[in-house]
């Protein structure tokens, strides 16, 4: 990535047995320390903020950002495959997809989109707090982000529960079967006419698949945020070094973007 200038950094690239100073070689090859040249300027809290393969903080930050975006590119393709399947089947079965989408609760979906946008704002504010060096507010904003994320998952669980209750989970044997209510003794008819039932089941396969993958990303994101919040609480970050907070933010915003597309595609087909 970088055109590494051989003039600098050459000393700490020497193998240990060629290094004239045993004391220096000891430090240079200790993985918990950066190379002494670069690390000396960035010593904080007793350990270096620059990993030994980097020249300085700026290069390290650039490498983190690029690595995260390379990962997010694979995530774009991952969800892109699901979106492609969705697009092909929606184009093939427009009426069934419109009818199935109308059974989704658009209001709850919109509410959840709002919750996720709020969580993106608080995540951005957590990164801002890290840039400002406010340990307290990094932790606070991260925990508020977790609260919003958990609220989203809670609403998602409510929606799943409702859909499963309505026999809309895409199980081959029970999808859209008549629902018998034991308390009232009333049997509700299927939602779909027979000719739309199979493609509607396809819609719900995509619905549960895509929102399920998204929810899995949320669960992972919440876990990562909690770890980073713990690290922030321990005082690991500073205005100069807070890459984990920032990269977690990139991941969280990406998950938000996925939902920004999923909401209109799954909930708002043909509502007029």
């Amino acid at each position: 990535m970088s055109a590494h200038n051989p003039a600098h950094g050459a000393a700490h690239n020497l193998p240990a047995d060629l290094n004239p100073s045993p004391a220096t070689s000891q430090v240079a090859f200790d993985p918990s320390h950066g190379p002494p040249s670069a690390a000396a300027m960035h010593e904080a809290h007793g350990h270096s903020m620059v990993a030994h393969q980097f020249d300085d903080l700026a290069q390290q930050h650039e490498a983190s950002t690029l690595g995260m975006w390379a990962f997010l590119a694979t995530e774009v393709m991952f969800f892109g495959g699901a979106l492609t399947a969705y697009a092909v089947y929606r184009a093939t079965y427009p009426e069934a997809f419109a009818a199935a989408s109308r059974l989704e609760n658009w209001f709850v979906g919109a509410l959840n989109t709002g919750v996720l946008l709020c969580s993106s704002l608080t995540m951005a504010l957590a990164v801002h707090a890290a840039q400002m060096g406010s340990r307290k507010w990094i932790v606070n904003w991260l925990l508020i982000t977790v609260v919003f994320g958990t609220a989203f998952l809670g609403v998602k669980a409510y929606e799943y529960n409702h859909l499963i209750h309505e026999h809309l989970f895409p199980r081959a044997d029970t999808f859209d079967a008549p629902r018998h209510d034991h308390e009232t003794g009333v049997t509700k008819p299927p939602h779909f006419p027979p000719e739309l039932r199979r493609p509607a089941q396809l819609f719900y396969s995509l619905y549960f698949g895509m929102t399920g993958l998204h929810a899995l990303h949320m669960v992972i994101g919440i876990g990562v945020i909690l770890v980073v919040a713990w690290q922030a609480w321990r005082g690991r970050f500073s205005p100069e070094y807070h890459n984990p907070v920032e990269m977690t933010g990139l991941y969280w915003h990406f998950v938000d973007i996925v939902w920004i597309f999923l909401y209109p595609l799954l909930y708002l087909i043909d509502r007029t």
Binding site: A3, S37, L121, E195
Partner: protein, 140 residues
């Protein structure tokens, strides 16, 4: 052992020593203000209401999907540029971001190009829709 930053005490973002200085636009020091975040958040909320509104009150037929995707793309762009700081990132980061979406466009382009043009050629589309063998309803 001269460290590179001793020659560049005010290094803004990484660039290889000896290369011309790039504009000081790197996210490592450029801070997006809280006011900017709040404005972007407000815009995202307005666009969310617009998405729902457009879906319910404007019957544009097949154009509905285009309106929904256009609004979603604007929302995604706001998140990428401001919440994810790409607006202020180095040129190399911007290329990485663009590449991510370039691959997506290739995926969509080739796949949808295939499906959109299948009707154009008279070759068989498989046993399901072959009049000689089709007993039931086909996929289309």
């Amino acid at each position: 052992m001269a460290a590179p930053h001793s020659q560049h005490p005010q290094v803004i973002g990484y660039h290889a020593p000896g290369t011309p200085d790039v504009p000081e636009e790197h996210s490592s020091t450029k801070h997006v203000s809280v006011a900017t975040y709040l404005v972007i958040f407000a815009a995202l909320m307005v666009l969310l209401v617009l998405t729902v509104g457009a879906a319910f009150w404007f019957n544009l037929g097949r154009l509905n999907i285009l309106v929904a995707l256009a609004i979603a793309t604007v929302k995604a762009a706001l998140v990428v540029l401001f919440f994810m700081h790409v607006m202020y990132a180095s040129r190399l980061t911007k290329i990485f971001v663009a590449a991510a979406f370039l691959w997506l466009i290739i995926l969509f382009g080739l796949t949808f190009g295939d499906y959109a043009t299948r009707e154009w050629s008279p070759v068989s589309r498989g046993w399901v829709e072959n009049p000689a063998t089709a007993g039931g309803s086909g996929g289309r």
